[in-house]
């Protein structure tokens, strides 16, 4: 972002107690306090949340989509991490 606009913030909302915060979108605001107030007005006009996080977009480090395959590849050849990998006699219950 250039100086032409306020910095961008990513907004995360906890929709109700017991659930984690989910990313809902982003918005511009001069500072964190204003970002919180704007987030309340933009994303929770209908009681969609009980708690909001705002994070400067510039503070987020993301994995690169181009490197997706090599990056996530280590998980691909380990089916034994999933319960369905194992052959268990049908008669065995509650396992």
């Amino acid at each position: 972002m250039t100086e032409r606009d306020d910095p961008l913030w990513e907004v995360f909302v906890r929709s109700r107690r017991g659930l984690s915060h989910n990313h809902v979108g982003s918005l511009h605001a001069a500072d964190a306090e204003m970002a919180l107030q704007n987030a309340r007005d933009v994303f929770t006009r209908r009681m969609e949340g009980v708690s909001i996080w705002v994070v400067p977009s510039a503070a987020i480090t993301a994995s690169s989509p181009e490197e997706r395959d090599p990056f996530f590849e280590p998980a691909a050849d380990k089916p034994y991490r999933h319960p369905t990998f194992y052959d268990i006699p049908k008669e065995v219950k509650q396992l």
Binding site: M1, T2, R4, D5, D6, L8, V24, G25, S26, L27, H28, A29, A30, D31, M34, D41, V42, R45, R46, A62, S64, P65, E66
Partner: protein, 314 residues
Amino acid sequence: MDGAALEREFKALIEADSRIEPRDWMPDEYRKTLVRQISQHAHSEIIGMQPEGNWITRAPSLRRKAILMAKVQDEAGHGLYLYCAAETLGVERAELIDLLNAGKQKYSSIFNYPTLTWADVGAIGWLVDGAAITNQIPLTRCSYGPYARAMVRVCKEESFHQRQGFELLYALSRGTPEQHAMAQDAVDRWWWPSVMMFGPPDGESVHTEQSMAWRIKRFSNDELRQRFVDMTVPQAEMLGLTLPDPQIRWNEDRGHYDFGECDWDELRRVIAGDGPCNRQRLAHHVQAHEEGAWVREAAAAHARKHAATASAAA
């Protein structure tokens, strides 16, 4: 990955009806099409606040005033969701607003019509938001993730917009003869511009084919227009109001309502800048933007000062 492999992967995602996300590779034209469509959509939400905002101070009851304020505030929110979706494509909101203010980007031509009476607020909610919903529901499955997600939020909020408009007209239609006439007059003026909101007929629509191939668009202009007419005709009967098109008639064979031809010259004129309110809408937007500059500057100055004190204290 080389260019050809990236393009293959993009195509495979589209074929699989998956979503393209901001940092994925995408063809330049796909990006440009989305920037054009999403920013035009954002501008429409923002400019769309004006015709209804015109009636907030004159709403006939506190109930109607609170409803109208909530609706107009929602439209501001829709604009913000959409500007942020556009920004994921590498453009800046400030730049898009400059383009709008310079007349270099468009907004929906519907908002260039005036709101002459209170009944227009009802006609806009029922017809204009009704047409917008018809357009926006398939966009929740658009191939570009951030746009699709913005549309999910928008569609959830739109349904109250349409219902409050219907309710408003329903009350007027069953009120005094003068109120009924006012409701009918509003519907007479807003019907055709609403039918034209779906854009030119399929044969003349320049972007449709490519947009459908990219699954940005799911249905053609004429398909969506038919859907809107089919939904609206029975509702007009419930309202006890007539739609100003003598050719509307149920077609048993097609399983759809037949309807008349829009005045496409009028649509072209309004898009080209010659509608009843084009100049006024844009001038008002520019004025609001300029008059708000000191607020933005003050907020930025406050943030800088605060950051400086915080780092001095640390």
